[in-house]
Symmetry: C2
Subunit: 689 residues, 2 copies
Amino acid sequence: MKSLFCFRTVVLASLLLASGVATHADEGMWTFDNPPVKQLESRYHFTPTQEWLDHVRLSCVRLNDGGSGSFVSPDGLLLTNHHVARGQLQKNSTKEHDYVRDGFYAATRDQEMKSPDLEVDVLESMENVTAQVQAALKDVKDPQQELTVRRALIAKIERESLEKTGLRSDVVTLYQGGEYWLYRYKKYTDLRIVFAPEQQIAFFGGDPDNFTYPRYDLDMAFFRVYENGKPIHTPNYLKWNPNGAVDQDLVFVVGNPGSTQRLDTVAQLLNWRDDMLPNILTWLRHRREVLKAYSAQDPEQARQAGSLIFGLENSIKALDGEYKALNQPSIFDKKEAEEAEFRKLVAANPEWEQKYAPAWDQIAAAEREAATRKNYFFHRLDSTLEQLAVTIVQYVAEVKKPDGERLPGYHEAQLDSLRLRLFSPAPIYPAMEKAQMEGALELGLAKLGKDDEIIKTVLDGRTPHEAAEQLIDGTKLADPAVRKKLVEGGEQAVAESTDPLIVLARKLDPTLRAYQKWNEDHVESVIDRAGEALGKARFLAYGKSSYPDATFTLRLSYGKVDGYPMNGTIAPPKTTFFGLYDRAASFDYKGPFVLPARYADGRSKLDLSTPLDFVTTNDIIGGNSGSPVIDRKGELVGLIFDGNIESLAGSYVYDGATNRAVAVHSAGMTEALRKLYNAGSLLRELLGQ
Amino acid sequence: MKSLFCFRTVVLASLLLASGVATHADEGMWTFDNPPVKQLESRYHFTPTQEWLDHVRLSCVRLNDGGSGSFVSPDGLLLTNHHVARGQLQKNSTKEHDYVRDGFYAATRDQEMKSPDLEVDVLESMENVTAQVQAALKDVKDPQQELTVRRALIAKIERESLEKTGLRSDVVTLYQGGEYWLYRYKKYTDLRIVFAPEQQIAFFGGDPDNFTYPRYDLDMAFFRVYENGKPIHTPNYLKWNPNGAVDQDLVFVVGNPGSTQRLDTVAQLLNWRDDMLPNILTWLRHRREVLKAYSAQDPEQARQAGSLIFGLENSIKALDGEYKALNQPSIFDKKEAEEAEFRKLVAANPEWEQKYAPAWDQIAAAEREAATRKNYFFHRLDSTLEQLAVTIVQYVAEVKKPDGERLPGYHEAQLDSLRLRLFSPAPIYPAMEKAQMEGALELGLAKLGKDDEIIKTVLDGRTPHEAAEQLIDGTKLADPAVRKKLVEGGEQAVAESTDPLIVLARKLDPTLRAYQKWNEDHVESVIDRAGEALGKARFLAYGKSSYPDATFTLRLSYGKVDGYPMNGTIAPPKTTFFGLYDRAASFDYKGPFVLPARYADGRSKLDLSTPLDFVTTNDIIGGNSGSPVIDRKGELVGLIFDGNIESLAGSYVYDGATNRAVAVHSAGMTEALRKLYNAGSLLRELLGQ
């Protein structure tokens, strides 16, 4: 559940500027309406037919946990990463059965394990609604009003589409308002786990090896998608290629990159680098410490916190890499040079200069305004229960308003997904909630002081420890039935509730709304409008020969299997099982380099020269986890699970010399399933036998 | 044979300043008269006894090919690197027997293969002669005169010592004249090759993996030292430990680091970085291209050029790494900060300021003078035959002068070693000589122009191609007997010779001598004297708690087996045979990653988890190749053969966080000898059976 406070982060992170800058090498996260046909033909002598494009699009999915996946059999079998599935494995696990640690395999369908709150979307169609949106905004002068009008119109388009088709309907903003598209998804919410390996092989090498290559991870998992109690029939699926790809092969990645900032202005990047990123990193690191202390007290507590810590460490490493990238003169200089060139092109045309040039300064001014409240970032309480309480309080108020006037997240078309999360049966651990809330309040107190409105309201004269204890001990919101009852009881039930978290949420709500309004008025609306102007200027100056910043919607990227210069030498295009055993032995099987017993004992069963992981030049980013690697024939040759350390600059620039996507090799997956997991029925299904 | 033109490079590179700056971590290349006892006791709870120190000193050797080695049995068995032995293997090889490519093993002593021109020195004793030298220089005012007086005195000390003891006698300048020591060596010139593996496993990974880690090289070779036709008896030898060291073990490296510039002034480093290094790199790269073109014409030519190209690529990679290091603000800033601190300490004392502070500016002025002739670097002709001719012409003149007045290299005490090289029977390939000389003349022409004195004299109206062809085709100097006859015939024979190279050398000699004199007068003498002043200032300011810059003489370094942060993750403390097979397979056995047939076929015989290479924090540099890694007990646990990429900055600063020495693990050497080479007699000798 995203709290309102990270909304601005999301907005900021997804600020887009259309780029017509000539794209080099294998760059680009291409929308399916605008595939990189010219590049594919000239570099790889490959022409994707409409059939080919449709086939791969319909074979791929988005997982709302924040990743991607693909169908790999006609019976709804879905391949994704272990780390994307991990949350669901965690939620199914108990003290007695730790599916994260030990893995899981359903040899027959009736053993397949239901996932509490996973939604999967298949992109059925895309419709360009740019004209409609831009027409409505044409005569609106005021940025704040434009924000309102745009939201209302988007909500209307989504609602009407949902009513008409029954499909999940999202209007996607591309090129920062240069284009608006209506994406319709077939949505599935009954996913059952078929196979997951041990965490220790899915994430071999742990945090040290995360975001690096060479790598030796089997980061895979299989689900089956059900509907009405039966596996769905998936005529569009990727045929499993057990041999995989070789060095220099043309390959594609189809998935959902989350967000990039390649088209941010220099002012935006400066604010991000100097104000936002440091705060985010401080927060993430603090949370990690809190949860590590929690984990140290008890093995069961460690199990509970495992996935969260995993996610935090992943974010820390990624954002720290991004922070380092932005502090590299070579990268920042590049962004400044790009902006200078763009400004020059605009200035050369008096009409463009007059219409669009003010946008840069408007954005810079809005960023300065935003920076005055940068520490409001520390209003977060890091508590699932508190977030649920706030959502409930707002929900019952928002649903009474006309759709177009609601806060983001509460529009008609979004309610299904919201309710799925709101009423999820996933367990919530009170002791962990207390530890996290207490830690958040301590950090908030340190950063904002005791007279801060939010801090003061939450603490209400108590210490962070006392406040957290009383709120968590007193609340009943951990029970989804209680939450459901409140929501069904509407505003009255909520107003009458004595649940301490609901009481607190009622108190906080006006302030939260005020802060959000201030942000919309002073920052978001200004940046949206100015960004849209720059988006138009970009189309005029450069034409539409490029791709938009990532938006956690379906993209196609192309590239080849290829090593790269690393550490004074060359990283190879693939690794083998030999390397897994080498790395484990070279650390004497300690720490994150321990081998699961299955691998230690089963070594002689394997052909160790089988490829395990490999790297490609495909342009991807977080969100692409679980994406399939597809060859020319449209077959599955690999499974994306990471990027190398050099790819962390990819939020800002793509450098084809060293930026690599990291994938599990289909030969490695096949070898492991066959020789170590004896997953006969799964293999037969994959191989179409 | 070092030409006169690289003399200044050697001088520059060995300019030393005593440092009393507190040394951190496991830093330091310690002389045996000043071992790091305090550090060893406090960090490792180890106290080296005089017995222990003497034992390891007398077990270790210097190879005049430019490396180190150690005795590993009581019968003169010597361990060093394959790449140190390679030159000798190359010189023994023919078109029919390529010992570099195929390796060599003498199962019995009579098969052991003699090396044409390898000298090995054992450091028998060290005597401090500082007082004697400084007394002679006390009243000499003039820097040029000081140079002359110092040289004459040093030559005298060496000559008298040689006459008295029969031992090779070198006066070593430490702390840039802060100290002078007389080192006496027992010298051996009859070395016979016992074992060398295939080049492809000694240097697995080739140029890409050179100077990097993780690594999978078996860079080892064994010689036996003979005297009077019999193996020498070596009561001081290192006992072979077949299990080797483990992570965090205390280890020592005893060997001959060649040169460092840690105590250079900022002015010296700037000249080195901006004038010298670029020229050297240009030259090396040009030579590599010339030799690669030569190699491409014919497999036999490729064999001839192999070792040279190997050496060039090694130097290019190392110097390029050093160049990059000096262009890193973090490193250069560090050197500037060190100098600023030193200047401050000196300035705080009026007497020191008056006596020593002018030295910095004097050095800077000399560097500026040197820079005016930086392109004289390109006077070199890259021809072994031409260098032999110049040596002969100068030799017959110099030996007629009193010892103290001779050019460096021609002093009485140096003549044995000089003659060994001058009359070496190692083959010289005329076609390769022509190619190299032609290439050198083309580069010289481009850099200096056709009116340059040396270029004009050599070309004499011809093109580079014509000149090279006529000179090499016309000379008979490839025959050592011819060279010997000329030298024995003295100045008259040389003056009468019509050999075109001798004729050329006679013409060039006055100019070469003039350039050398100019360099001595304007640069070397000034820097020597000013450097000596700074050396004294350093002792005064910091005391003698540190170590001198490297001087290609015996040093002790200490450290531990330890991984380090690399590539966003951790490099492990060791690698295993698993890793060798992984790296080979991951590149599909292509290029520098091909596996020798013995390893491809014999994989199942090996325990693949056996350690192959490992890293330690020991402070080493080029020249340490072949040094033993020794444990607390004085046993041999490894064999140094490289440094990681982060160690290339070690010429200038030691960074214990990432600087690592790279060694072959004794367990890996034992496993290979036993299981793949069936080297039964060699193993029995090593294990004392």
